[in-house]
């Protein structure tokens, strides 16, 4: 009897010791089967283009997609490019390891502010904070040299991206991005989708874009969005008719 009681007590102590600490924040860690989202703006169409934004959208057929030339997809396209990603969560930061083009992001959640003095870059300057169980990433200081997606949606260097990452269940992430770009869009727009957990045996693999980019090296690349979409007006804000 005494022995049984001691065993039960020990079991409780061991269980308490082994229980993960209660987290105010969520747990995003894992390898996630992030998949290609061709037209990230589909759910927000028709987009609230400014004249400058509409001009850039229609100008896509005069340019090669930057990722075809192995230019990093940048933020936010890094989240909608194909192939898995791994999230490593630490007390003061969350690390994103993307297979596609070997991108990585270290998102500090320690309360620091944006850097005021760095050059604009493809991935921009990101800081994070926990809103309950949701990681909120705020990114500014982006260049205008990346596109938003394979559809050829565009952004300017005024782009401000807000990402919201939350684990819905052990096997599903929800992802939400808000595109705030006053040069190209008259108001912010938000889209979201889910990302499934990758199979257990998946690891992040090598994806060196420049390894054998024959399409580029042999001169086969041509202008236009990757999805081959024409500019048939489906996503274009129709200008008002001219006044007589």
């Amino acid at each position: 009897m005494h022995a049984r009681l001691r065993l039960s007590t020990m079991t409780i102590v061991v269980c308490l010791a082994a229980a993960p600490p209660a987290l105010a924040q969520g747990d995003l860690s894992g390898v996630w089967n992030k998949r290609l989202v061709v037209n990230t703006a589909a759910a927000a169409e028709p987009l609230p283009f400014t004249p400058e934004g509409l001009k850039a959208f229609n100008d896509v057929w005069n340019h090669i997609d930057p990722t075809s030339r192995c230019i990093l997809p940048g933020v936010p396209r890094v989240n909608t490019s194909p192939y898995p990603m791994q999230i490593i969560q630490l007390p003061d930061k969350v690390v994103f390891l993307y297979e596609y083009m070997h991108n990585f992001r270290v998102i500090y959640t320690d309360g620091r502010r944006h850097r005021p003095d760095w050059e604009p870059s493809l991935l921009g300057d990101s800081i994070g904070r926990w809103d309950g169980d949701t990681l909120v990433i705020d990114t500014v200081n982006l260049t205008d040299r990346t596109w938003l997606d394979d559809h050829g949606n565009r952004h300017s260097d005024a782009l401000h991206v807000t990402e919201r990452w939350r684990r819905n269940s052990p096997t599903e992430l929800s992802y939400e991005e808000t595109i705030d770009d006053p040069k190209f869009y008259s108001k912010p727009w938000t889209v979201k989708w889910t990302i499934p957990l990758a199979p257990k045996d998946w690891v992040i693999m090598e994806y060196a874009c420049t390894d054998n980019n024959k399409d580029l090296y042999d001169g086969h690349l041509q202008n236009g969005p990757l999805d081959g979409s024409g500019r048939n007006g489906t996503a274009i804000a129709v200008p008002p008719p001219p006044r007589k």
Binding site: P82, N212, Q222
Partner: protein, 137 residues
């Protein structure tokens, strides 16, 4: 080398899905959906490297003459996760590739399907999906 001039029904949808899954360059800008092609001949080289695999073969013409061709396939990481590898092909053995010619007229194709000499369909080409063949376990 045999060529077919007819465009398959639903080619536009197929091409769009190929572009999406290629996710690296524009299919419709680079290849001609109006010029499907079928090539048969021995494999001379396999490049299982990112961002796309390339398979080189000597396509056999009606007169038996061999002409070098290069055909682009899917993403090696996706194919590897499905269980395929460079050893799916054997150098010197015939394969049959169905795909589309490059617009620039070079002996370059984007593969839709790959078949070994025994008729087995392999890889997912550039158009992985429900129809993609799986490797024998």
């Amino acid at each position: 080398m045999r060529t077919h001039g007819k465009t398959a029904a639903g080619a536009v949808a197929v091409l769009l899905s190929m572009a999406a899954l290629g996710a690296h360059h524009s299919f419709v800008a680079e290849f001609d959906g109006e010029k499907p092609i079928t090539l048969t001949g021995p494999v001379t080289k396999v490049e299982w490297r990112n961002p796309h695999i390339w398979v080189y073969l000597d396509a056999r013409g009606p007169d038996g003459k061999l002409t070098p061709w290069q055909c682009e396939g899917g993403a090696p990481n996706a194919l590897t996760r499905q269980g395929w590898s460079r050893s799916t092909f054997t150098l010197g053995q015939d394969i049959t590739v169905q795909g589309w010619r490059a617009k620039d007229g070079s002996n370059t194709c984007n593969a839709r399907t790959w078949r070994l000499a025994n008729g087995q369909q392999v890889l997912a080409g550039s158009s992985a999906g429900a129809d993609a063949p799986q490797p024998a376990k």
